[in-house]
Structures are given as C-alpha cells and as structure tokens.
C-alpha cells in the first residue's frame, strides 16, 4: 500500500471546508464520537481545559447564523459543536488553551470527514465582538473563552482533496 493510501492520510488530505449541507440530521452516536475525538487531542501538561457545546436546536442554530458574519451555513447545518476553553483552569490552560482547543477542533473535523460528515471551522475568537454575542446566545459564562464553531452535517458539495506543499514555506534543518 502506498503510504498516501492510508485512511487517516486520506481523511486529513480530503477534509475541505464544506458549507452546504443536506437536511439529514446527524446521529447522536456520531456526535458523541466526534466529541470523544475532540477530547483525545493533546493539551499542555494534560490541562484538558476545554468544553464543548453541542447545538442541534434549529432556533439556536439560526440565531448563531444571524449573529456571525460568515455563519450563513448554520441556517442549513444540522449540527454545531462550539469549542470553548477555560483559561482560568490552570497556568498551562491560561497560556495554551487556544492551541489545545485548536487541536481538539481539528480532531473533530478530521473525524467528521472520516465518518461521512463534512463541515467548516468557523472562527470566533478573532472575529471582533463575536465571542461576546455567542456567549449570550448559548449562556456561556464570561470566564470561558470561545475558540470557534465546528459547523457540521452531511455535505452537499464536493471539493478535491488537498495536495502538495506551499511554495517557500519549507526549511531544512534551520530557517
């Protein structure tokens, strides 16, 4: 078997940002598996300072869609997993919650693609004012940081897998 035929490699390269979804709901068992994959991501000194808000309620999904400037796909998507961090949990959590939550988010997106779902990472943390408004919609306490939203469902568009290496981005041994 060529190494790029490994199912994991294909899932990583095949994951694309998908923003069109079928109406079909995502099975509960799949949702739980995705969160489990999120929890399997590494965290600084095993600080595990992450929380997941699983949103399947149509009204809440619509409110998120209205609120986020790039969130229109939430009107169609049946599932959103909001990835949050707790920077106050420990010194390591304070320094590294954003990296650790990003790894959890990426695990969720790769796992989703592997089990027939697709989706997009909707950034919240660096979208001005959005962390605040999403906290309100989902009753998230002020001390909890909102990294972003994995918007998920059964994809209704197809994109080619990733391939290759960015020009100029690779250095050998030293910069």
């Amino acid at each position: 078997m060529r190494i790029r035929d490994s199912e994991t490699i294909r899932a990583i390269l095949g994951r694309r940002s998908i923003r069109r979804f079928e109406e079909r709901l995502v099975e509960k068992e799949k949702i739980e598996l995705l969160v489990e994959c999120g929890c399997a991501a590494p965290s600084a000194a095993n600080s595990r300072a992450r929380h997941f808000v699983v949103v399947t309620d149509r009204e809440l999904l619509n409110r998120l869609a209205e609120d986020h400037p790039y969130g229109k796909m939430l009107f169609e998507a049946p599932l959103a997993i909001v990835v949050c961090g707790d920077p106050e949990k420990s010194d390591f959590a304070h320094r590294y919650w954003e990296e650790d939550c990003s790894a959890a988010m990426q695990n969720i997106l790769v796992a989703a693609h592997a089990i027939g779902l697709d989706g997009v990472w909707l950034g919240v943390r660096h979208a001005p004012g959005k962390e605040e408004s999403i906290r309100k919609i989902l009753s998230i306490p002020n001390h909890i940081a909102v990294l972003g939203i994995a918007v998920l469902g059964y994809g209704k568009e197809k994109k080619e897998p990733h391939q290759g290496i960015d020009q100029g981005a690779l250095h050998m041994e030293r910069w």
Binding site: I3, R4, S6, E7, T8, I9, I12, L13, R15, S17, E29, K30, E32, L33, E36, C37, C39, A40, P42, R48, R50, H51, V53, V54, T56, D57, L60, R95, Y96, E99, S102, A103, M105, Q106, N107, L109, V110, A111, A114, I115, V120, W121, G123, R125, H126, I137, S139, L147, G148, P161, H162, G164, I165, D166, A169, L170, H171, E173, R174, W175
Partner: protein, 179 residues
C-alpha cells in the same frame, strides 16, 4: 463495523504523547506526507501563515534536546518538525495564526501515527527562557514565531488509547444544558 472501529477514529483515539523512540531513521517519503498533511489544515481566511523547519541532523536535534527543558526525547528522536507562523501577514496584536499552526501540528501527529511513527507536541512559544533558547538554534527571524515542535520517531513505548469524554465538558444546546 462499529463506528469507533473506523481506522481514522482509532488513529485519533490512539494518538498519545510518546517520548521514547527506537534509533530507526524515518523512511524516505514520510516527511513529505507529514508536511502535506500539515498544509492540509485549514487556516483562517486561507491566509496560510504556517512555515515548517524539518530537523533531521543529529547535531541540531541534540542541541534542541538541551535547549528545550521538556525536550530530552529529541536526543533519541530521528525527526523533529518545528511549526512556525509568519506573523508579518497579520496586523499588530492579531494572533489568529496560533490556531492555524496548532491545527497543522495536530494533523502531523495524526498522520505520523498512521505511518507507524509516534511523537509528542512540544510547546515553544509563550515559555521563557525556553523560547529564547530554542529560536537561535533554528535561526528564525524576528517575525517568525515558533509555535511548537513535533518530536517524531518509531515508538519504543506503548500507551492505551484515549477513551470517553472529559467530565462536565459537554453541554447540549447551551452552557449547562442536559449532557
């Protein structure tokens, strides 16, 4: 097949931080696939800030193993890949590149495991004097931030896979919602 038996899910749940490696060098072609997988991670607004330094020279790996206070395993590891971000693409104070670099690093760790390698994510940025010790060895210019280093190799230890969901970490529909 049970969904959790899916090879990709098994790969994600089975990835653990491995810090002991055999002396076997990595096979040809492996580094290229790892990098492709790193570049396949999403980046906010597709700004693609990630830059990578592939380190395989024993002398540099050894220097890093001393400079990085949690990096002793680099003295054994045949391969390290430093994940960096070009911060000059961003306005002052905008650190959105952290998320992109972290996603790329996680992709590499997942891909490594799929190819028979294992490894560990070493944090660099944000720890002092670690950052000041590591960056000169890699000769990175000031606008390049070293987010972390993946120390990689063929494993000489085994750990049980992850299982289950963090306590109190999941809510349904809104914070505090039924689990």
């Amino acid at each position: 097949m049970e969904r959790r038996e899916h090879p990709v899910i098994q790969n994600i749940l089975g990835r653990r931080s491995i810090r002991k490696f055999t002396l076997t060098p990595t096979e040809p072609g492996v580094v290229h696939i790892l990098l492709e997988c790193a570049f396949a991670a999403p980046s906010a607004h597709n700004r693609r800030p990630c830059r990578f330094i592939v380190i395989q020279r024993r002398e540099i790996l050894d220097q890093l193993s001393v400079a990085h206070d949690s990096g002793k395993m680099l003295a054994e590891a045949p391969l390290a890949i430093a994940v960096c971000a070009d911060t000059s693409l961003y306005p002052e104070g905008d650190t959105a590149w952290i998320e992109d670099g972290a996603a790329a690093l996680e992709n590499m760790l997942l891909a490594a495991r799929a190819l028979g390698l294992e490894g560990v994510w070493l944090k660099v940025m944000g720890r002092h004097p670690r950052e000041e010790r590591v960056c000169p060895i890699l000769k990175v210019p000031a606008h390049i931030k070293v987010i972390g280093i993946a120390a990689l190799g063929y494993p000489a230890e085994e750990k049980a896979p992850h299982h289950g969901i963090d306590n109190n970490a999941v809510y349904k529909d809104c914070w505090g919602g039924e689990k």
